[in-house]
C-alpha cells in the first residue's frame, strides 16, 4: 500500500478558471476541473513534449527514452510523462540529468508516490517542474485512473513520442487521446519481430511521424509551437528571438562538426578513439563487429578467435570508455542511441 507523503508535500489546487491553469488543457473535450500540483505547472509558452512507453522496456527503449528526455530538456523543451516504471521514468531521469524542466502526471493523488520505486524521481521532479494529478490527495492508484491520466499527459503536450509499446499498451491510449486532441504523435521505430516494437511500428503504419533522432523531433515541434503561438497570441517564449536562440543552440551543441545528427556522437567519438590508437586492436575489432549488430560473448569469441580472458578484458575497456553496453550477456554499441 503506497504511503502518504509528509505534509510539506501537500499539493496545491489550481482550478480550471484560474489564470495559472495550463491553457493547453482548456482545448480538450473533457478538461479536468482542476489540478493538484506539487512544484509548478508546465508553462504555456514553452514547448512541451510527452515521452511515453512500456513499463517493461528493453535496454534500447531505456536508452532512447533517456536520451530524448535529456536532449530535448537541454533545448528548453518541457518533458511530460507519467512517472511509471520503464520508459516514463527514464524520460524524467534524462530530463533531470540535463537540468531541464519535467512534469509527471500521476494516476493517484499527487501526495502519493506511485510506483514506490520511483521515489527519487518523485522527490526530484518538483524541484525542476512538478507532480500533477487530477485526483484529490489521498486517492489510491486504481487501474481506471490511468487512462484518464493519459489524456492529461497528451493534453499538456504539443507532441507525443511513443518510445516502446506492445500491441495492447496503455501508451497507445495516450496516442489515441493525443490524436483526439489534435496533437502530433511520433513513434520510435523498432525492429520488426520485437514484441515491444509492435505497438510503435503499428503507429508508424497508421501515419505517425518517425522519431528517429532528437533533430527530427525538433523539426516537427518548432513549427507546431510557432503555429500555436499565433493562435494563442502568447507573448513570452516563441518570440522570433526565442526561436532563433533555440536553433542557434541546436547548431552549437548538437552539430559540433557541422555534420548530421546528434545520434552519431557516440560513433564519431569511437572512430576518433580508434584513429588515435587509444583503443587496443582487439577492442577496435569488437567495435567493428558491433557496429553491424548486437553480439553475444560467444559470437565475438568465435568471430575474433580470441580467448575468453583477453576478450573480457577488452570488453571491459570498452564499457569503461562508454563505447559499448552489456545487458544479459549481449553487447551493444552505445553509439546506437546512448550518451
Amino acid at each position: 500500500m503506497p504511503e502518504k507523503e509528509p505534509m510539506e508535500n501537500k499539493p496545491i489546487y489550481i482550478g480550471r478558471d484560474s489564470d495559472a491553469f495550463p491553457r493547453r488543457l482548456l482545448h480538450m473535450a473533457d478538461p479536468p476541473k482542476g489540478l493538484y500540483v506539487i512544484g509548478t505547472l508546465p508553462a504555456d509558452d514553452l514547448p512541451s513534449v510527452a515521452i511515453v512507453g512500456s513499463r517493461m522496456c528493453s535496454p534500447y527503449g531505456r536508452r532512447i527514452a533517456c536520451r530524448f528526455g535529456m536532449e530535448l530538456a537541454a533545448q528548453g523543451v518541457q518533458i511530460i510523462s507519467g512517472m511509471a516504471l520503464g520508459i516514463d521514468g527514464h524520460a524524467h531521469e534524462g530530463a533531470l540529468a540535463s537540468g531541464g524542466r519535467t512534469f509527471a502526471v500521476l494516476g493517484c493523488g499527487a501526495d502519493i508516490c506511485y510506483p514506490e520505486k520511483n521515489r527519487t524521481l518523485y522527490q526530484e521532479i518538483p524541484k525542476k517542474g512538478g507532480i500533477l494529478s487530477e485526483e484529490p490527495p489521498g486517492t489510491l492508484p486504481l487501474p481506471y485512473h490511468f487512462p484518464k491520466r493519459n489524456r492529461i499527459i497528451s493534453g499538456l503536450s504539443d507532441l507525443v513520442i511513443v518510445v516502446e509499446a506492445r500491441k495492447k499498451s496503455g501508451s497507445l491510449i495516450t496516442a489515441d487521446a493525443a490524436l483526439e486532441q489534435g496533437r502530433t504523435v511520433m513513434a520510435v521505430p523498432g525492429r520488426v519481430g520485437d514484441a515491444l516494437s509492435e505497438g510503435t511500428n503499428h503507429l508508424l503504419a497508421q501515419g505517425a511521424e518517425i522519431a528517429w533522432s532528437v533533430q527530427s523531433v525538433l523539426d516537427i515541434l518548432l513549427p507546431l509551437h510557432e503555429a500555436q503561438k499565433r493562435t494563442k497570441k502568447s507573448s513570452v517564449w516563441p518570440s522570433k528571438a526565442g526561436n532563433e536562440q533555440l536553433s542557434l543552440r541546436l547548431e552549437e551543441e548538437n552539430r559540433p562538426d557541422g555534420s548530421k545528427d546528434a545520434f552519431e556522437d557516440g560513433e564519431s567519438r569511437l572512430s576518433r578513439a580508434v584513429k588515435s590508437g587509444t583503443l587496443s586492436a582487439l577492442a577496435a575489432d569488437i567495435c567493428r563487429i558491433l557496429a553491424v549488430d548486437d553480439r553475444t560473448f560467444d559470437d565475438l569469441a568465435e568471430m575474433l578467435s580470441a580467448n575468453a580472458g583477453s576478450l573480457s578484458s577488452a570488453l571491459l575497456e570498452l564499457q569503461l570508455g562508454g563505447f559499448i553496453e552489456e545487458a544479459a550477456g549481449c553487447y551493444t554499441l552505445s553509439g546506437n542511441g546512448a550518451r
Binding site: P59, R62, C66, L85, A195, D298, S312, A327, A328, C330
Partner: protein, 516 residues
C-alpha cells in the same frame, strides 16, 4: 566388581573419550544406566542382555550399574553397546579385566549377538591414535574405514564370541579379503568437452576452480547452467591427503561413507534441493549433526535456482562464507562445524526465466524486482564471479558451425593444478590455501598493483559504481587470473578481466540498472 572400558562419544564433529564404568555387585538383580544418556543409549540394556543370552552367556543375578563418564556430555547413538557388554563381562570376571587395558571399543549389538556397523569410526580411530590407545575394537563391517588410520591396531569383529575369543585367548578373527587400504576413486562420467560454446562461462569456471572463488550464473532455463555446474568437480584441484582425511571424517560422522571405499578421493559436490530448511543447511538437531554447508567443506556447494531457496536459508550462508565455519548454539553448548566451501549458484533472471528477452518474458517489473530481491546485496557481495549465460542456438548445440572440439576437463584441470602449486608455494606456512582466502589486510602485500592499474580501478569505481567490498574481491580474482597467465605481476588486463566478472544483478528491478 568394577570395570572401566574406554569408548567414544561424538559431539558435533569432535570425538570425546568416554569411560564406560561398570559395577557388578551383590544386591537385588537390576540394571541401571546413568551418565547423561539419550534413549538410544538406554536401549542398549535390552540389546546387550538379549545378545549375551543368545550367545549362551548367562548374566549373574546381580545388581549391575553402568556409568558413562564424563557425565556432563550428552551421549547418543548405538556405539556403546559393545563397551557396555564388555564392561559387564569383565566386571563379572567372565573375561580377564587386564585384556581391556589400553583398548577402545565401539559397536552396536544385534539381538543375535553379531556386531552391526556404526558411524564415526574414522574420526574415532584418529582420536584413538592421538590418545595412544593400543587396539581399537570395531564391527567387521567398519574395518576398512578404521584401517585408514595407520599406526593403530584396528580389529574388526563379526560377533560377540569373536570378541570374547580375542580378549580371553588372544585369537584374532579371520579377515576375509585382508581389508586392503582402498584407493581413492576419482573418475567422472561427465566432462567439460560436452559443453559447446559458453566460452565466458568456462573461463569463469576455470578461474573459480583455480582460486576457489564463488561463482554465480544467471540465465534463461535450458541455457546450460546446471550442465556446467555438474561438470565443475571435474576441474577442481585434487585433494591432498590431509584434506581427504579431514572431509572423510565429516562424512564418517554423518554416516555417508560408502563401506567399500570409506575415504573420499574427490572434493565433495553438494547440490541440495531448494526446499531445504536452514537447519538442514547449517546442521540441526538437539545434538547438531553436520549440515549441507559442512558436507561441502573443501568442496562445492551448488545452489540451483538460488532465489527459490527460503530467505532464511540463504541468509544462513552469510556467516560461513565470511568465517569459513559455522557456529551453532544449543542449550548444551556451542558447536563449531568447518564450512569452507566454494559456492556455485545459478538463477533465472526473472520468474519466467526469459528476461530481458522481451519477446518471451511476460513478467511485470514488480515481479522481476521481487524475484531478484530475494538474493540480498550482502550475499551478492560475496560472489566473486558473475556470468550471464545465454541460451544456445541450434548450430552451437550441434556444433555444426565450428569444427573445434571443446577443451576436455583434463586440460583445464592441468592449468588449475598449476595455479594451485603456485598458491601452495606463495602461502606456505600461512594457513591460506587459495587466493580467495587472502585476508584484506594482506592484499597490498600479496596482490600489488601498479600505477596504471590503479588508475583503471579508480575509473571503474566511479563509472561502474562498485562497492568497497568489490575492491578486495576484484584484487583476489585478479591474482588468480594472473596466476593462470603465469604472471608474477598483476597486470592491467588481469584486473580488467576481474572487473568484468562483477555481479550485475543489483537485487533490484530492471529500472535501477541504468543511471544517466
Amino acid at each position: 566388581m568394577f570395570q572401566n572400558v574406554i569408548s567414544a562419544a561424538i559431539r558435533g564433529l569432535e570425538i570425546l573419550p568416554v569411560h564406560v564404568e561398570t559395577d557388578v555387585s551383590n544386591g537385588f538383580p537390576q540394571f541401571r544406566m546413568v551418565g547423561f544418556v539419550t534413549s538410544q543409549v538406554r536401549e542398549a540394556e535390552d540389546r546387550v542382555r538379549t545378545a549375551l543370552r543368545n550367545v549362551d552367556i548367562v548374566l549373574p543375578p546381580k545388581r549391575i550399574t553402568v556409568n558413562l563418564s564424563p557425565a556432563d556430555v550428552p551421549k547418543s547413538g548405538s556405539r556403546f553397546d559393545l563397551p557396555i557388554a564388555l564392561g559387564i563381562l569383565a566386571a563379572a570376571r567372565m573375561i580377564p579385566p587386564a585384556s581391556l587395558t589400553n583398548v577402545m571399543a565401539v559397536g552396536e549389538l544385534s539381538l543375535s549377538g553379531s556386531l552391526a556397523p556404526v558411524t564415526g569410526i574414522l574420526p574415532i580411530a584418529v582420536k584413538a591414535k592421538e590418545l595412544g590407545i593400543g587396539s581399537l575394537l570395531i564391527p567387521a563391517a567398519n574395518l576398512r574405514e578404521g584401517r585408514i588410520v595407520e599406526g593403530l591396531d584396528v580389529i574388526g569383529f563379526r560377533d560377540l564370541p569373536e570378541v570374547l575369543a580375542f580378549l580371553s585367548k588372544g585369537v584374532r578373527p579371520k579377515e576375509e579379503d585382508a581389508a586392503s587400504l582402498p584407493t581413492p576413486l576419482n573418475i567422472y562420467d561427465v566432462d567439460f568437452s560436452d559443453i559447446r560454446g559458453q566460452y565466458r562461462l568456462k573461463r569463469a569456471a576455470e578461474i573459480a576452480a583455480a582460486g576457489f572463488h564463488n561463482l554465480l550464473m544467471e540465465g534463461p532455463p535450458g541455457a546450460g547452467k546446471t550442465m556446467a555446474a555438474r561438470r565443475f568437480p571435474t576441474i577442481l584441484p585434487s585433494l591432498t591427503a590431509d584434506e581427504s582425511l579431514e572431509i572423510s571424517q565429516i562424512y564418517s560422522v554423518a554416516g555417508l561413507l560408502v563401506p567399500e571405499r570409506p575415504i573420499l578421493g574427490v572434493r565433495p559436490f553438494r547440490s541440495p534441493h531448494h526446499t531445504l530448511s536452514p537447519a538442514a543447511l547449517a546442521g540441526g538437531g538437539r545434538i547438531p549433526r553436520p549440515g549441507e554447508l559442512t558436507l561441502a567443506h573443501r568442496g562445492v556447494l551448488f545452489l540451483d535456482e538460488m532465489p527459490e531457496f527460503s530467505r532464511s536459508a540463504l541468509e544462513t550462508l552469510r556467516q560461513p562464507l565470511e568465517d569459513r565455519e559455522i557456529v551453532i548454539s544449543r542449550a548444551m553448548g556451542t558447536y563449531r562445524f568447518p564450512a569452507n566451501f566454494l559456492l556455485v549458484a545459478a538463477m533465472n533472471p526473472c520468474p519466467c526465466g526469459y528476461y530481458p528477452d522481451m519477446n518471451r518474458c511476460r513478467c511485470s517489473a514488480n515481479a522481476i524486482s521481487a524475484y531478484r530481491s530475494r538474493i540480498s546485496q550482502a550475499l551478492l557481495d560475496r560472489m566473486d564471479l558473475f556470468v550471464a549465460v545465454r541460451a544456445m542456438r541450434y548450430e552451437e548445440l550441434t556444433g555444426s558451425d565450428t569444427a573445434k572440439t571443446p577443451e576436455p576437463s583434463a586440460r583445464i584441470r592441468d592449468r588449475v593444478e598449476k595455479v594451485r602449486g603456485l598458491q601452495q608455494a606463495r602461502f606456505s606456512g600461512t594457513g591460506i590455501r587459495f587466493n580467495s582466502e587472502i585476508p584484506a589486510s594482506r592484499l597490498p602485500e600479496l596482490c600489488p598493483i601498479d600505477a596504471e592499474t590503479d588508475t583503471l580501478l579508480s575509473r571503474a569505481f566511479s563509472v561502474l559504481h562498485l562497492s568497497a567490498r568489490a575492491y578486495h574481491r576484484i584484487l583476489r580474482v585478479s591474482r588468480t587470473i594472473a596466476d593462470l597467465d603465469e604472471s608474477e605481476r598483476i597486470r592491467k588486463k588481469h584486473v580488467e578481466e576481474a572487473i568484468d566478472y562483477r555481479p550485475r544483478v543489483l537485487g533490484s528491478g530492471p529500472d535501477e540498472e541504468y543511471r544517466p
